[in-house]
């Protein structure tokens, strides 16, 4: 069985459309981040989160009412299945709260408020209190880890392939990080520690995908020295298309299992992975190779005209493929 027999789609032709589409999504995401601010979870912003298991059915509105008088904006959500009667209550970092004894104050106040509201018996099954020092520390380390991993991967690809490919791969990876962030904004997910872990995993996954295609490009460049780079890239994308789709599909479905069955605690992680897998596949096909080609062209090399459709947005007159070289 074969999904694509001798696939020959002209992906490179659509590269500018793809870049514009990506820029629109990323732009919308950045706009939301700027206007609304990045919705940091309590891991990073500090604060209190409680999961209360109620003895009997209780409406979210009544819980909301009960905790409303507490300082700051509270978030009250169903936690997991409605039948489990678990409610998540999140309270922001209290301004100027001292660490230590004070750390517990919001949690104790919320528990008291729930008791006073007469919502029946309840048990706190999960309690997380994060002080501002820990939050700030994690923020710093999260950003550092993401940046260093991008730099280290760029260096590795630059070493194994060549510089323009490394830039293409890293652009695709950054693209995935930003698209994922944009979707997290659209669907109002908080950036928790697990979400950052998912984003870091996505960077690895996205680079993986890109490397598979670049490897094929390198191999094809050795055997087809006459062909211009954009055609070689297009052929390579097509040759690996079966693998790209199957891998993306199976990974997507395994992560979907995690999203559906993994429970409340992993939902943010699984959602991030779902978006990342789709974006990673899309960016591999459209963004990484496009940027690698654009960068190679900008080196000013010239080759004879080729048989690629004229709809191309870039002039292809007089390009030389002599610079194309496998490392």
């Amino acid at each position: 069985m074969q999904i694509f027999t001798n696939a020959n789609y002209d992906f490179i032709r659509w590269r500018w459309h793809a870049i514009i589409l990506s820029l629109v999504v990323i732009g919308a995401g950045v706009f939301l981040i700027v206007t609304r601010g990045l919705p940091l979870g309590i891991d990073f912003s500090g604060g209190t989160s409680l999961v209360a298991q109620f003895g009997e059915e209780v409406s979210l509105d009544r819980v909301r009412e009960a905790v409303a008088p507490l300082p700051g904006d509270e978030v009250v959500q169903q936690f997991g299945d409605a039948a489990e009667r678990r409610v998540l209550i999140r309270l922001p970092q209290v301004e100027g709260a001292e660490e230590g004894v004070e750390l517990e104050r919001s949690a104790l106040r919320a528990e008291q408020a729930l008791r006073d509201a007469g919502l029946g018996s309840f048990e706190i099954v999960n309690r997380e209190l994060v002080g501002p020092v820990i939050g700030a520390d994690l923020q710093r380390r999260g950003i550092l880890a993401t940046l260093t991993s991008l730099i280290a991967i760029t260096i590795y690809i630059g070493f194994r392939f060549r510089f323009s490919f490394a830039v293409g791969a890293i652009a695709a990876t950054l693209h995935d990080v930003f698209v994922t962030l944009a979707f997290l904004m659209f669907f109002r997910y908080d950036i928790s520690l697990n979400v950052v872990a998912a984003i870091l995993t996505i960077t690895g996954y996205s680079v993986n995908d890109t490397i598979v295609i670049f490897d094929r490009v390198r191999e094809n460049l050795r055997s087809r020295r006459k062909e211009p780079l954009d055609q070689v890239v297009n052929r390579s994308v097509n040759q690996t298309l079966g693998r790209t789709i199957i891998t993306a599909g199976t990974t997507f479905l395994s992560v979907l299992a995690l999203y559906v069955y993994g429970g409340e605690a992993l939902e943010g992680f699984a959602f991030t992975m779902l978006v990342g897998v789709v974006s990673g596949t899309y960016s591999t096909v459209f963004i990484a190779s496009a940027i690698a080609i654009i960068l190679s062209q900008q080196k000013g090399a010239k080759t004879p005209a080729t048989a690629v459709p004229p709809a191309e947005a870039t002039p292809r007159q007089g390009r030389k493929q002599g610079r194309v070289r496998a490392s």
């Binding site: 069985m1 997991g80 489990e84 678990r86 660490e99 230590g100 750390l103 517990e104 706190i124 099954v125 309690r127 997380e128 209190l129 994060v130 002080g131 020092v133 820990i134 520390d137 994690l138 999260g142 880890a145 260093t148 991993s149 280290a152 991967i153 590795y156 690809i157 520690l193 697990n194 950052v196 872990a197 998912a198 870091l200 995993t201 960077t203 690895g204 680079v207 993986n208 490397i211 598979v212 490897d215 094929r216 191999e219 690996t240 693998r243 199957i246 891998t247 199976t250 395994s254 992560v255 299992a257 995690l258 559906v260 069955y261 993994g262 429970g263 605690a265 992993l266 992680f269 992975m273």
Partner: protein
């Protein structure tokens, strides 16, 4: 050829055997993290400034003592910060310098108008901070062990003044926190005056000018209430302790003369000598037993006491907690809680169920797809992914790696990666077959051509996973380690195991077709 396959199969059988042996029985060998098992996760910060402040105070007092004895005049001598003190109004600089030799081994002297400022040498300050954290760590470890928690974790964490404490299966968070944090700084100090009903009243007794060597501490009126709450009294005490927590040799449960719970303690040899001459010199004066900056009891010194004492007027629970904290030694500095996470055991059990369901669903889907899409060759992939998961479980039990909720996600991603490598190889073999080569040549070419791609993809994923390990705390580390082990074993299974199976099939029948 057959020889070759035989040793390959043998190696695979050994690896599988070792893995299965390592994680049997799973309920004992695979360690569950707090998020799956339930328990308490705490991050504390040691206030290292405290320890430096004590050192500075002590240096100031020793210097004051020396200057007074040598008759050197000065107008002001006091600590101006935890690492700094200042001396002013010196008449005889040479005589002063003779006395300050000791202090200058630890402090840098800065000449300033009207006197000197002494600042602790940076390397000594750093060393002292480090020692303070190390000592706090040891103390907490001992206390946690006294609590009787199975497999607790006490370790340095993040920034260098932070300590991580994990107590699996603990439900009484409050008691655990109190025992861990209680500084248990036991001191015996001379009481100047008291008790007073309030802080203000105590101040008034000194016309609002407390002597520099004294301070006001809360305590309780004899026999009633808990310190710091109802029945509070205030005492004026000397700042410098005659005996401090680290002079303590032992502490044990006992009863006072009215058969009420009490804590008896004995002093170490050198402290006992010091205490003996002190009590002798101060007969008839009141002495306070101070614990954690609270006056636990005040007694009049009746005669020379050398090596033992008793804390009275406490509840039974207080007694037990105090024995634990006193026995484990004093914490060198007070501490703050920076982070606290408590997971109830029922929530953890639910997460385990969800994780197992999700993994099985993911695995089930992959198995069905592979068998359907790649037919018989799909079995290769299923076997190699299965072996990969066995190795992953085995290594996790062997290292050992704690299984966390994100670690479950790592499992599912490992399945995904296994699929990817196999698909990469199979698709390549299909392509090679399409160029109408022989089956054997196609299989060989498929594996050879894809080898470097697999290396590249795994190295770049490893880079991301290693950085996650650096960045990660707790559960995220579990995820990163799972991913790293999964990546490494995947290279073995997707290439070595899968290829061996191809060889096996090809050697059995001199096939001209491959079910792929």
């Amino acid at each position: 050829m057959m020889k070759n396959i035989q040793w390959r199969l043998g190696l695979i059988a050994v690896v599988i055997g070792l893995s299965v042996w390592a994680f049997t029985p799973p309920s004992q060998k695979v360690k569950l993290g707090l998020d799956l098992k339930g328990g308490v996760h705490l991050v504390l910060r040691v206030k290292t400034d405290d320890a430096l402040g004590v050192e500075t105070e002590m240096t100031v007092e020793r210097l004051r003592d020396g200057l007074t004895r040598a008759g050197v005049q000065f107008s002001r001598l006091e600590a101006t910060g935890s690492e700094e003190f200042r001396v002013e109004g010196l008449q005889d600089d040479r005589a002063f310098r003779e006395q300050s030799v000791d202090a200058e081994t630890v402090y840098d002297r800065l000449s300033e108008a009207g006197g000197y400022t002494y600042r602790m040498k940076p390397n000594i300050a750093n060393q002292l901070r480090d020692e303070t954290v190390a000592q706090a760590l040891e103390t907490i470890e001992r206390r946690v062990n006294e609590l009787g928690v199975a497999e607790p974790i006490v370790a340095r964490y993040g920034a260098r003044d932070q300590i991580l404490v994990q107590l699996p299966g603990v439900s009484d968070v409050r008691r655990a926190k109190e025992i861990i944090r209680s500084t248990a700084r036991l001191e015996l100090r001379l009481v100047d005056q008291g008790p007073f009903p309030s802080r203000e009243a105590a101040l008034q007794a000194y016309n609002n000018a407390l002597p520099a060597d004294s301070e006001i501490l809360p305590g309780r009126t004899e026999g009633t209430g808990t310190a710091g709450t109802a029945g509070t009294a205030f005492y004026v005490l000397k700042k410098v302790a005659v005996v401090a927590g680290n002079d303590l040799r032992n502490a044990q449960q006992s009863l006072d003369e009215f058969n009420r719970p009490a804590v008896s303690f004995t002093l170490k040899q050198d402290a006992a000598v010091r205490f003996g001459s002190f009590t002798e010199a101060n007969i008839g004066r009141p002495m306070g037993i101070v614990m954690d900056e609270r006056v636990m009891s005040v007694a009049t010194i009746q005669g020379r006491i050398t090596d033992s004492g008793q804390i009275t007027g406490i509840s039974r629970e207080e007694m037990l907690d105090q024995v634990i904290t006193l026995k484990s030694g004093a914490l060198p500095a007070s501490m703050d809680y920076l982070e606290e996470r408590t997971v109830g055991p029922s929530l953890g059990a639910d997460s385990v169920r969800a994780g197992v369901t999700a993994s099985l669903a993911g695995l089930g889907f992959v198995v069905v797809f592979m068998a359907f899409y790649y037919k018989l060759t799909g079995l290769n992939a299923i076997v190699s992914i299965g072996v990969n998961l066995l190795i992953l479980l085995g290594l996790m039990a062997f290292v050992p790696v704690t299984m966390t909720l994100p670690g479950v996600a790592g499992f599912i991603l490992t399945i995904g990666m296994g699929v990817d490598s196999n698909v990469l190889i199979f698709e390549r073999i299909k392509e090679e077959l399409a160029t109408s080569r022989g089956v054997r040549a196609a299989v060989n070419a498929g594996f050879d051509r894809v080898w470097w791609t697999i290396v590249d993809t795994h190295v770049s994923s490893l880079i991301a996973a290693l950085l996650l390990l650096q960045f990660g705390t707790g559960p995220i580390r579990g995820f990163a380690v799972t991913l790293i082990i999964g990546l490494l074993s995947n290279v073995f299974t997707a290439v070595f195991v899968s290829r061996t199976m191809f060889e096996l099939v090809l050697s059995r029948r001199h096939a001209h077709a491959l079910s792929i």
